[in-house]
Assembly symmetry: C2
Amino acid sequence: MPDPEKIKELKNLATLIRYYTLVATTHAGSGHPTSAMSATDLMTGLFFGGAFRYDLDNPRHPNNDRIIFSKGHASPLFYSLWAAAGKLTAQDMLTYRQFGSPLEGHPTVAFPYTEAATGSLGQGLSIGVGLALNAKYLDKLPYRSYVLLGDSEMAEGSQYEAIQLATHYQLDNLIGVLDVNRLGQRGETMYGHDLMAYERRIAAFGWETILIDGHDFAEILPAFEQAQTVKGQPVMIIARTIKGKGVSFLEDKNGWHGKVLSPEQLEQALPELGPVDQAVRGKIARPQDLRPQEVQPQKAGKVSYEPGKAFATRKAYGNALKRLYPQYPKMVSLDGEVSNSTYAEIFKEAYPPRFFEMYIAEQNMVGAALGLACRGKLPFVSTFAAFLSRAFDQIRMSQYSDANLKFCGSHAGVSIGEDGPSQMGLEDLAMMRAVLNSVVLYPCDAVSTEKLVEAMAEYKGIAYLRTTRMGTPVIYGEDEEFPIGGSKVLRQSEGDLATVLAAGVTLFEALKAYDELKKEGILIRVIDLYSIKPVDVQTLQEAARATKFLVTAEDHFPEGGLGEAVRSALAAHPAPVYSLAVTKKPRSGAPEQLLDYEGISKDGIVNLIKQLEKRL
Amino acid sequence: MPDPEKIKELKNLATLIRYYTLVATTHAGSGHPTSAMSATDLMTGLFFGGAFRYDLDNPRHPNNDRIIFSKGHASPLFYSLWAAAGKLTAQDMLTYRQFGSPLEGHPTVAFPYTEAATGSLGQGLSIGVGLALNAKYLDKLPYRSYVLLGDSEMAEGSQYEAIQLATHYQLDNLIGVLDVNRLGQRGETMYGHDLMAYERRIAAFGWETILIDGHDFAEILPAFEQAQTVKGQPVMIIARTIKGKGVSFLEDKNGWHGKVLSPEQLEQALPELGPVDQAVRGKIARPQDLRPQEVQPQKAGKVSYEPGKAFATRKAYGNALKRLYPQYPKMVSLDGEVSNSTYAEIFKEAYPPRFFEMYIAEQNMVGAALGLACRGKLPFVSTFAAFLSRAFDQIRMSQYSDANLKFCGSHAGVSIGEDGPSQMGLEDLAMMRAVLNSVVLYPCDAVSTEKLVEAMAEYKGIAYLRTTRMGTPVIYGEDEEFPIGGSKVLRQSEGDLATVLAAGVTLFEALKAYDELKKEGILIRVIDLYSIKPVDVQTLQEAARATKFLVTAEDHFPEGGLGEAVRSALAAHPAPVYSLAVTKKPRSGAPEQLLDYEGISKDGIVNLIKQLEKRL
C-alpha cells in the first residue's frame, strides 16, 4: 500500500497538470484536453511515483528511462508533466500550439524531451520496441521504455506487430500503459470499457497484463512496481479511465474529443479540479549513471569486384553492410523475413548480434528502427521495395523525428520478372522522394552500390537505396567515387544528338542503345543518374544545353520517379525531356520480355530517339 | 466420419494437383511449389469435398462462394485446383509464369477465377472481410468467403485488423484456412508448428477456431462442415501442415521456399506422389441461383451553395455522397474512425446501412473496400490524407485487381494548422499519382468538390479526392462542369506575364496574388488545376506559349505533386516552371502562418513573380 503522503503529493501534481492542460488548450483554441485528462493520473504516477528514472538536465542520458506518447494528441499532458517537473513554466505552457513554440500540437523533436514525434496512431509501441531492443541487446543498459497507448489506436494492426515482436525478443524492459477511456474520436471504441477484451488479446500474445483503475494511485503505483519485477516478457498495464476526468461536464461524454473549453467553460471547470498549488513540483528519480560500451570505428576494407562480371546490386548491398560495419559500429540491420533475398543475411551471418529479424511486419520494423535510431544506432532496414510501401506512414513520421534511418528496397521494377506485379517496386522512388530532405539512390552495379551504401551511412538523415534482383555487369572501377547528388557521364562525344538518363537496370539498356545508334551514325550521351535525390542539376543542365533533347528511362511508374526528378532539375532552364517508364500493367514474364513490353529496354530507347530525330 | 470413397477421390485429386504443381513450376523455372503442396489437401477438401459452392461456368455469379489465396505464392495450387475442376488443361498449366499467360506468378485478375490479385502478404483476409460484409449486410446472400492464409503472413498487423473487424461485424460467413507449415522464406516462423499459439491469439479476438491435421481428409472435411454451422462469429481452421508435403526430400525442409525442382529432381519426385490419374476431375457443388435485390438509380439532386460563403471541401464531400447515393445505389462509404472530420458522417446519417465504420485500421479498410468493389459495390474510402499512407501497399495492390475504388483524403497540407505535421497530408498526391491509371482530384471549393465526387463515381477505376480542413469561399456556379482532366482558367488577359497553377487552398492565394500584382501593373493568368492526374495538357501548353513562365503553388511536398505533374505535361514543349511547395519541416501554427512560412501564400507567389520579372 503506497504511502498516503506520497498519494497526496501525486494528487496535487495531477491537479496542477489538469490545470495546465485545460488552461493551455483553451488558450491555444485547439487540442485534446479530455484525452490528456484520462491519462493524467497514470502518467503522474509513472513520472513522480518513483518508477520512472530520468536525468532532467540531460534528456539524452543513455540510461534514462524512455517515455513515448503513442497517443500523441495527449500532448497537453506530455508538456504539463515536464512543467510539473520544473522544466517548463506556466508561461511556456501558454505557447502551446503557437507558431514557433516547441510545444507543438502533437509532440515533435522540437521539444527536447520528446524521444520521437508521434501523432499518427499506432506507432509508439513499435518505437518502444526499438528502444527496448537497444537496451537489452545493444547498449545493455537497465533503462525501461514506457509507452502510453490509447484504446482507439489498439485497432491499428501495427500494435499487434509490435506486441508479437516484443514477446519474441522477451522485452521485459518494455512497459505499455493502455489508457482505456472508452471513447474514440467519433464515439465509442470497439470494446468500450471492457478491459478484459484487451487483456485477452494482449495476454494471448504472451504479455504480462495488469488491470487497474487508472485514477487510483493506490493501484497505479503498485502496478508500476509490479511491472518492474516481470522477467522475460513485456508488460501491459491496462487501465480503466474516464475521458475528461476531473471536470463533471466533460467526464465520459461523447462529443468532446479534440475540443477545447471556451473561456467561460474553463472558468466553470477549473474550480472542479479543487485547489491548485502552482508551486508544487514533482521529483523524478535519477537513473544510474551507466553508459554503453563504445566501440572504436576501424577503417572498412576495400571494395573488390571483377569488372564485367554479373553481380546483383542487392547482393552488393549485403556485402557493403558487412564490409562497412567496422567503420560504422553503430550499424544494425533489420529485415522483414526476406534477408536471403535482400542479402541482409550476409551481414547477419557476419555480425549476428547486430541483426534483428523482424518477420513479415514492415510497419513495426520501421517503427522499431526509428527507436534504435533514437538511441544513436544506424539502422539499415531492408525488404522488397514494393513492401516498404506497407510502412509509408512510419517512414513519413520518421522524417519528423529527424531520424537517421536507412532503407533498402530490393526487387525493384518489372525486371524481377516471373513473380509478377505484386512483388515489383514501381512506386518506391515516388514514395521515398516525397520525404523531406531524403536521399534516394539507385545504383546500377556492385561497385556503385557499395560506395552508395557508404555514402548513406555517412549521410545524417533518411536515405533510400533501390536494388535490383538480377545480376548486372560491374562497370565501375574500385576507386570510382559516388558522391550523393552526383552522376556519371558514361558516353559522351562532340555532336551528341540526345542525352539518355538512366539508372539501375535501364542504364545497361541505354548503353546498348548507344552501341546500336552509333552504328547508325547517331551519337548519344549516356548518364548514370544514380542519385535520384538530390539530382545532379549541373550535369543535367549541361546535357540539356549540349544535346537537342533528353530521354529518361526508368523501371518505375512515370510519376514521381527519375523522369520527374530530371524535369524538376531543369525547371528554370527547360529542355525537352521524353520519358520512358512503366506505363502498362505489368505481368509475369522474363525480365527482358517485360522491359521490352514496357518500352524501357534498348529497343524502346533506340526507337524513341530515331523517331524524335526525324521530327527535328 | 467422411465416406471412404469420397476420401479416395479427394486423394486422387490431391495427387493430380501436386503433380500439376511440380510439373508447372519446374517447367516455368520459378515459383513456390512447396508452399502450394502444404495447402493442397486443405484446398482439395474445400473445393471438392462438398463445402464450396461455385458455378464454374459463371465465375461472377453473385452467390458463388469466394476463395482468396492470401498466400498468393501458392498460385500453382490455385491454378491446379481449377485444372482439377476441368477449367484448365494440362497444357494450360505449362504456360504458368510465361509472358502473356493468365497464369501469373501470383494470382491476378487476368485469370477469370481470381477474385482479387494477391501476392503482398497479409491482405487477403481484409479482402475476405469486404466480401463477407457484402454478403451479410448488402447483397444478403448466403455465399461464404474463404481465405487461405500462410503462417508467415500472420506476422502482418493487417491480419489482426481484419480479425477484429470480422468479429465486430459478426461475419459468420467468413472462414479462414491457416496453413501452418512452420517454414517461412528464410527459416522457421515465430511459432513453428505451435498451433495453439495461433489459436490463443485468434480466439482471443472472438473467432471460433478449429485445429486439424491439414493432410487428413477425415479431419479436413468435418472442419469445413463444422465451420458452416457456426453462428455470429468468423471461423479459423488452423491446420498443421508440412511444407513440400508429398515429396520426401522437400518435406519440412528449410531452404526450399520459392525454389523449383530441376528436371532431374522432378523425375525423382513424381513417383513419390503415387499413381497420377490425369483423367480424374473434381466436382464443385453449384450455389443456389440467388441474386441481390437491384435498386434502380434515380437522378441525384442539384448542387446548391451560396456563392462567396466559406465552406470546407471536406464537408462538401460528405454532402456529395449523400446527394449522389440515389444515382449510384452501389455506393458504400467506409471511414477510419474520423467520419466527423472527413464528413463521411453526413452520408452515414442519411444511409446508415451503406456506411461501415472501420475504426483506426486503414489497411483493413482499404482491403475490405477492395472486397466490396469485387462484388460490384462502389466504395468511397475516407480518412485523413496523411493516414491513407498507412494503406499504400493495399492501394498499390488494388490497381492489380482493376479495382473500382474511390479514396478521399481530408486535412491535406500545412493549412490544417495547429495539429502539426503528423496530421498533414503532404505526400498524398505523390502516392496517389503513382498508381496506374489513377485519377487525382483536388478541388478548391464546395461546388467543384461535389462535381468531382460525381466524376469519381462515374469513372471506372481508382480515383482520389483531396480535401481541405478549413472553409474556402464558393467561387463556382452550380452549373459549372468539372470534367476529369480539365482545369479552369480563372484570370486571363492579353499580356499576361506569367501563369500561376494552383489547386485547393493555394488557388485562393493565387487569386489574391493576382489582385495585388494587378495593382502594380503585372497581369498573371490563374488556373485552377483541380485535376492533377490526368492533367489538362492542352491548357497548360497554351499557357506556356502565352506567358513567359509558369509558377506552381501547392500545399504538398515538391516531389510527385502538382508541380511535377505540370512539368511532365509540358515535357515535350518545355517552358520554365517555378515551383512553390512545402520545403521546410512544417510546424504547428495558424494556417495562414504556415502557408506564409512555406512560401506558398499570396506573398510567396507575388515575391517570386516580381523577382522573376526583374530577371527577364
